[in-house]
């Protein structure tokens, strides 16, 4: 589909509202007769509750209602769910504890929900919440990932706090590769816990209409249809056909707005009980405590090598921290979104990965931008870098020696990679980063008293999530197709409904570019509508870099149906056979003639079939009036973006302060619809990846208190933490969707952490864990100095 709209830097259609203060986020919505909710949350990481006394609070000024876990149980409101069943290597199903939206008898992390206080004003709700008396018996908390399996179970019946013990790969074959290896390289790695921190705090408003018996939930969600499904089918809040979920403008997601959260369930249910709207908006501290966190792995990895630098096997053991409960994508993130990617873009014949996920008294973890793939890439790119160093090969040469070169390529674990050219992006990145002059730059830094290091990360991602047949066979509770509906209106403009959701991804623009390209309609006349279950068809939402590859393809297919119907109508009007009519640039043309009709004329005819003044627009027999088409697309495979990141850091030898001073990215995303948007996605992803490597860390103390519960202590990267990133692209189109698109939203977050850490370690000559804070780097420098002096 080479032409003008696809691939052009179209300015965003959605920008004007955001730039003029006219965006409409959930917190901006105020409904008549609205009440305000505040949640009473556990101040303890682990406790049993003997009593929740609301008597004093209920009499506080302005209080409308206070509801607890008992009320929830009485109304038979169901618990929150894990959406993906993982089976342990011994064949047993994963173990998940009950997860009531308001605590029953136990609380399991600081911030766990105990009661909702509903009042006429927010201040009144907060005042009253202070008067709710909860009798806690505090129990010893299990906090650290590494301690969980050796600690007493925090949930009844979940031995060793183990959710599952998962194995992927051929252990025998991998052991054989290791016994035949010339060299084995080993590393122990920590993937630090992160807090997603979308800038819009979560918010939810329940609005029950007792007349129509319809329930509306406004919520900051990445997937309103999925939320409605879960709230109906599992939480039994309200029947699906009477339930509308609206996710209006949403201020960033990064995975933290996938889940149907306790607050969603409770405000929806509460508004039914009091028959008034109930509004809740998270304060940032609540977001820190109760949004899903991400990552938190401990990993041991080993790589088997031949003397010539050929990798023959990889072995990985990981413990992943689920936090207190299992959330929607929490169980698949450290398994199928993680383990298959441990081969990276390399041709490794044997691989094996064991993942144990554990429960602890911390906030539940789930998908966070990249979800599993950053964790895998960190493991692969760290160990590959170490291996190249140990056998004394150049980082680029070592990678090239091991890259997959022929496509399609069936990897030894799961994925069948359809397309790619890894040498191409690596070569381009070497050039763009001026790799050959790195040693000069190192000397220049040295002259300023700074240590300079360089780090590589050549990543392979699997996204465009996902083929339903595949994912459902490995435990997904739903298929991961996507939907689109195109309504070509009688007056010639187009309404496009998508099940994907834009919370920064720019769908209003990029999807309009696709439709404009396909149907020959100016993008000003195309409206992309999403985020309201009452408007479009059921869709799975936006995560896993799937919107374009899956949702965009559904749009393409719906466009194709519009064209096919239009062709029949045009043929009738132009007195030709449908096969004689071609469609190009918005016009239906009879081959070898000048007879044509615009698509607008055809749409008009579809809505006004018959004679209208001079216009005769009869529909062919058997063709229904109207021009509306729906498509549901289920991809045949994942898509596989890849790329090379090269990072250079400078370290202050005295303070340990580390700064990224040069950062180069070359990505292969297949077909790019809008380079302006794609570059923005890469910038943001890289920034989050650098954030993980140098700055961000969710820190719990021994008792399970979250120490980093505000921007005073959780380091959010700011503008002055980054240099200008240098970007380039190569392209091998995906074969699993007609657009050839691969997905770009997560790549930066996936590739950046190892690129940065490899650079830091190169600079200081010591292995340290993320985040590479100034103190850690400083200590490592002193250790290095002592070692050198001793030697």
């Amino acid at each position: 589909m080479a032409s003008s709209l696809i691939g052009s830097r179209v300015e965003r259609k959605e920008d004007k509202k955001f730039l003029t203060g006219k965006g409409r986020y959930t917190a901006d919505i105020n409904l008549a007769n609205q009440t305000y909710a505040y949640f009473v949350r556990s101040p303890h990481a682990r406790a049993t509750i003997s009593k929740v006394d609301i008597s004093k609070a209920s009499n506080a000024p302005g209080v409308v209602k206070i509801l607890t876990g008992d009320d929830l149980a009485k109304d038979k409101i169901g618990g929150l769910i894990a959406g993906w069943k993982i089976v342990s290597q011994d064949g047993t199903d994963m173990k998940c504890p009950p997860h009531p939206p308001l605590a029953n008898n136990t609380v399991n992390f600081v911030g766990d929900h105990v009661a909702i206080v509903i009042a006429e004003t927010l201040d009144q709700a907060k005042d009253a919440a202070e008067k709710v008396r909860v009798d806690y018996k505090v129990l010893k908390a299990v906090v650290n990932t590494g301690d969980a399996m050796n600690s007493k179970p925090i949930h009844d019946g979940i031995d060793k706090n183990l959710c599952y013990d998962f194995l992927l790969g051929d252990k025998g074959k991998t052991d054989e590769a290791f016994s035949n290896a010339d060299k084995v390289v080993k590393l122990d790695l920590v993937n630090n816990r992160l807090i997603p921190n979308a800038m819009e705090p979560r918010a939810a408003i329940g609005d029950y209409n007792p007349s129509s018996e319809e329930l509306t939930l406004y919520t900051a969600s990445q997937n309103p249809h999925l939320s409605r499904l879960i709230l109906s089918a599992f939480n039994a809040v309200h029947p699906e056909h009477k339930f509308r979920v609206v996710a209006p403008d949403v201020g960033g997601g990064f995975g933290s707005k996938i889940n149907a959260y306790a607050e969603d369930v409770v405000v929806a249910w509460a508004s039914k009980k009091i028959e008034r709207p109930v509004k809740w908006v998270a304060e940032r501290t609540e977001s820190f405590l109760s949004d899903n966190h991400g990552r938190d792995h401990l990993t041991h990895v080993e790589l088997a090598l031949k003397n010539d630098g050929k990798i023959t096997g990889i072995k990985v053991e990981t413990i992943a921290n689920l936090g207190a409960y299992a959330l929607v994508f929490a169980t698949v993130t450290p398994t199928y979104l993680y383990a298959p990617l441990l081969i990276g873009p390399y041709d490794i014949p044997a691989a094996c990965c064991n993942v144990k996920t554990v429960y602890t008294n911390t906030a539940p973890t789930d998908a966070y931008r990249g979800a599993g793939r950053p964790e895998a890439t960190y493991v692969v790119e760290r160990i590959v870098t170490e291996a190249a160093k140990e056998i004394g090969m150049d980082q680029a040469e070592f990678r090239k020696k091991n890259f997959i070169n022929k496509f399609p390529h069936q990897q030894c674990l799961v994925h069948n990679i359809d397309s790619g050219d890894y040498n191409a992006h690596l070569d381009k990145a070497l050039e763009l980063s001026d790799y050959k002059n790195f040693e000069n730059r190192r000397s220049q830094s040295s002259a300023k008293g700074k240590l300079r290091g360089i780090g590589f990360s050549t990543y392979l991602e699997a996204c465009g999530i996902a083929p339903s047949a595949v994912v459902m066979s490995i435990g997904a509770g739903v298929g991961l197709w996507e939907s689109a509906e195109i309504r070509f209106n009688a007056t010639g403009n187009v309404s496009v409904f998508t099940g994907a959701h834009s919370h920064g991804q720019s769908h209003d623009t990029t999807f309009a570019q696709i439709v404009g390209e396909k149907l020959g309609v100016p993008i000003e006349n195309i409206d992309i509508i999403h985020g309201d279950t009452d408007k479009g068809p059921f869709g799975m939402g936006t995560y896993g870099s799937r919107s374009l590859a899956v949702g965009g393809t559904a749009i393409v297919k719906a466009c194709d149906k519009i064209i096919e119907k239009g062709r029949k109508v045009a043929a009738k009007m132009l007195e030709a056979k449908p096969e004689e009519v071609e469609f190009k640039d918005g016009e239906f043309i009879v081959k070898n003639s000048n007879k044509k009709k615009t698509i607008g004329e055809i749409a008009f005819a579809c809505y006004l079939p018959g004679t209208y003044g001079d216009i005769k627009s009869p529909l062919p027999e058997g063709v229904e009036p109207g021009l509306v088409e729906t498509s549901f697309f289920d991809p045949s495979n994942f898509s596989f973006p890849s790329g090379t990141h090269i990072c250079e850091v400078e370290v202050d030898q005295d303070t340990g302060e580390t700064k990224v001073v040069k950062y180069t990215v070359v990505d292969d995303f297949g077909t790019i619809i809008n380079p302006l948007v794609v570059e923005g996605q890469v910038h943001g992803g890289v920034a989050q990846g650098i954030g993980q490597a140098l700055y961000e860390n969710a820190h719990y103390d021994e008792s399970g208190q979250l120490i980093t519960a505000s921007y005073m202590d959780y380091t959010m990267p700011r503008a002055d933490n980054f240099p200008e990133f240098k970007l380039g692209f190569t392209s091998t189109p995906a074969t699993s969707n007609p657009l050839g698109a691969k997905g770009c939203g997560e790549a930066g977050t996936i590739a950046a952490p190892p690129a940065v850490m490899n650079a830091v370690i190169d600079a200081i000559g010591e292995d340290i864990s993320m985040p590479a804070t100034s103190e850690k780097v400083c200590n490592a420098l002193q250790k290095n100095k002592k070692n050198k002096e001793a030697a």
Binding site: D123, M716, R718
Partner: protein, 153 residues
């Protein structure tokens, strides 16, 4: 209760408000100017930045009663006669926003920078934006947009 009279986006406004009313609360909840956003509770994210008497401030850390008699400009008041401010235009042209949540504060802060410095360097822009957190853009296109606006103003 306090009687507060302020000029907001060129219009005189008087309201009886509770003493504890923050400027952000006055704007969002009382005057329905919801373009000013609240992204944190420790005065750090900068989503709430507006101008009071021509200077950028965090409206979540300011009592409305405290600025009685002042002139306030919010993101809604930046465009003139339906035409966006050069800073808004530059953010659009260079994709300086994604989810849009931090954007109003970011734009208001950037406009104040250009009042103080006509042609800031990249580093000066990055330093000035210390009080505005963005999670989407990696700041690169924001910095580029501020430079672009500086060249147009």
């Amino acid at each position: 209760m306090q009687k507060v009279s302020i000029e907001i986006n060129g219009k005189k406004v008087s309201r009886e408000i509770e003493d504890r009313t923050l400027l952000s609360t006055l704007l969002r909840d009382i005057l329905s100017l919801t373009g000013t956003h609240i992204g944190c509770d420790t005065s750090q994210c900068g989503a709430c930045v507006v101008h009071v008497d021509g200077k950028s401030v965090k409206s979540c850390t300011l009592f409305a009663a405290d600025i009685h008699g002042s002139k306030v400009t919010t993101i809604e008041g930046l465009a003139r006669n339906g035409k966006m401010h050069p800073m808004q235009e530059a953010f659009k042209k260079l994709h300086g926003l994604q989810c849009g949540f931090c954007t109003p504060g970011m734009v208001m802060s950037a406009v104040d920078l250009l009042k103080n410095k006509k042609n800031p360097s990249e580093q000066e822009i990055r330093d000035w934006l210390e009080g505005n957190i963005c999670r989407c853009t990696g700041y690169q296109n924001i910095v580029a947009a501020v430079k672009e606006a500086a060249s147009k103003m």
